[in-house]
Symmetry: C2
Subunit: 406 residues, 2 copies
């Protein structure tokens, strides 16, 4: 949580944090700027003090929404910096020098946000070499900001629950849209008799997302049959929607500039072949087993092993016995959800992941099984919150129902 | 253009480019992956050869949409790399070593995309120190990829024109929505008699954006009165819409994962006070003067001076005479538009900006004047394309009309 930042900075020996980049697709900046809509500028946090926003004068109105102290970057006289510098890198170093001196920042300074990697490398190398009293620090694993963001306070959980309700409404509306179609043989048909395509379903989903006050900056997955058997395939718009094949609907919208949700359901229209029914039962039982087992204090990497063992017990290949398998359970178990679709806590089953579940973690549980040669995949994804008592609470209130009656 | 990449790499002494990060809000990756929807992985381009995509097996389906050769990252045995590495940074260095060796990359390698700056610094420093035969290069100004992206081919211009048409339709629909309201005194009222708020207008705009097959990952500006006098203020949802005040509508949507457009019009409902009418005429005359003057071969930084001189001639303060003014013309003149809302060419009026207009450049022309103490602002923004003959072609087909009849 936000109040953990100072403790984390002490633990990692950081005297200040400098966060930069537009807030879009930049959750560190969105978090530190308290949701203010900034297309540039900086947030600087000194240990033991509230963050301050440094922004262009044309964004001074939006910066106030952060509730933080706002410094107008014009104070540092960018024009004179540029004229006195031999190139843009030198000018950027001088701007950093001026505002760090102005804010009294010295010591070990971490740099965060989003930027071009080569540009960051040149800038941070120059700052480290040239700024007196400043040691540039990077963090390769989860940063102090990632760690703070990973545990949500009650206000954040309430906002995620709001997105959850809207997301479930979009899924329900999509199901109703599918059910509103007549069939001709195995194929769903539109009112004019033409076959319903995934492209048509995608349009309806986008419409429903907007209608429910959500946005989908990273799109969604609504895939069919063979594409449903490749976890991140989004669905081919030309595919014709037909009965008895799996459709994987993985939707991860957010409220404007705010928190994401992430929900997956797998559907078959009209009926499901017995093999798919069984795969669905296996995945659902795995979800249920996991959702009862999450507890504060447990290492997150253990759950992937539990999922793999469970699904292998049901006869599915998994990445536990063959890390390169493309059949059966082929991916990771889940990830934190918040201002990014994917954030801490990590559930990676690797020796370097020492993450332990904590109260306030909000994360997905999303096992699945995939059979490209048999043209189907099944995935079920819920979002779990570890409550103050350390117990799991499901934030996804959407039924598990494979077959959509037509 | 894409075909310029090899020439630019020669000019800058680069043997290979490594691009990384999810494609969202990461135009370098979106460009190099030809629009394939990838949440991670790499695109590697060796000089003189087509780029290749390296991706997770769960994204192998989407990667094919790039039309490029696809390498499954599972080939490099990530599990064994992780087990043999003492931390995640070492594992990342080893993964880079394996794929760069596999692709025969040596020499000077540039790194691009989007990532956390501190993380990039640690990674590129380690790659530079530890990878034999590799010299890590960063670019601080416009990168080779930025330069290639800056000039659009005919297919790209056609796609931008498509977004332009849809964007104009959204603006027209918003105007019609405003006109559909009755007034009570100076205030617009909804069917139930309650005052129309900016929040209501914002919802309608979002609905229209979705309806026209667009998305708005960076939102939009629809601001009123005092907020319209601060260029990047988005508009306060609680403000009541009333007659005779300026409304700045700056909309910059894109098609899904594709090209952006950027359009600004300023409106007054019912009538415009004479001072605002005059300010509008000044800005519009400035736009017209500029739009006739753009030519291939001219340094972009010259146009800001022309805009300032023109507006000062009409009695407005500008950043030319007072770089810190918050009254009059207070910002830059424009920017390139493409896979990012703001990209090359830069129109910054600084000594370090040596950009020259070229055929294929697509960019905004957006002067404005702002008077916070008098609670109004006026901005007009068109998009210009420099055609093959080096002449300006306006891509924005939307009328200039300050007053919306009610």
């Amino acid at each position: 949580m936000r109040q953990d930042l100072d403790r984390l900075m002490v633990e990692r020996g950081l005297d200040a944090l400098v966060v930069s980049g537009p807030v879009w697709a930049n959750p560190a900046m969105a978090y530190m700027a308290n949701g203010a809509v900034l297309s540039g500028g900086y947030v600087v946090k000194r240990r033991g003090r509230a963050p301050v926003v440094l922004c262009s004068p044309i964004e001074r109105g939006e910066a106030l929404a952060s509730g933080l102290d706002v410094i107008n970057l014009a104070r540092y006289d960018l024009g004179s910096i540029t004229r006195a510098s031999s190139n843009e890198l030198d000018a950027a170093v001088e701007l950093h020098r001026r505002f760090l001196v102005d804010l009294g920042v010295t010591g070990r300074v971490g740099f965060y946000g989003m930027a071009d990697p080569g540009r960051s490398w040149l800038l941070l190398r120059a700052l480290d070499e040239r700024l007196e009293g400043i040691t540039v620090c990077g963090e390769f694993g989860p940063t102090v900001i990632d760690e703070a963001r990973a545990t949500k306070d009650e206000g954040e959980v309430a906002r995620i629950q709001d997105v959850a309700r809207r997301t479930c409404a979009v899924v329900a509306q999509t199901v109703a849209y599918l059910q509103s179609h007549a069939t001709r043989g195995d194929v769903l048909v539109e009112a004019d008799g033409s076959p319903l395509t995934l492209g048509g379903v995608h349009r309806e989903i986008r419409r429903a997302i907007a209608q429910h006050g959500l946005e989908d900056p990273e799109g969604f997955i609504f895939s069919l049959g063979r594409d449903a058997a490749i976890p991140h395939s989004r669905g081919c718009p030309d595919d014709v929607v037909s009965l008895g094949r799996t459709m994987v609907f993985d939707i991860f919208p957010r409220t404007s500039g705010g928190y994401f949700f992430d929900l997956t359901r797998t559907f078959c229209l009209g009926f499901a072949p017995p093999e798919i029914e069984q795969a669905y039962a296996d995945v659902l039982d795995c979800v249920r087993m996991l959702e009862e087992s999450y507890r504060a204090g447990v290492e997150t990497r253990r759950y992937q092993g539990m999922a793999c063992e469970f699904l292998e017990g049901r006869g599915h290949p998994t990445v536990l016995s063959d890390p390169r398998t493309e059949h059966g359970y082929v991916h990771g178990l889940g990830h934190g959800v918040g201002l990014a679709v994917q954030e801490e806590p990590s559930f990676a089953n690797t020796v370097h992941n020492s993450t332990v579940l904590k109260s306030g973690h909000v994360f997905t549980c999303e096992p699945g099984v995939y059979y490209p040669d048999r043209e189907y995949g099944v995935r079920i994804e819920d979002v779990i919150w570890i409550d103050a008592a350390g117990n799991p609470r499901r934030l996804t209130e959407y039924p598990y129902q494979l077959v959509i009656e037509m």
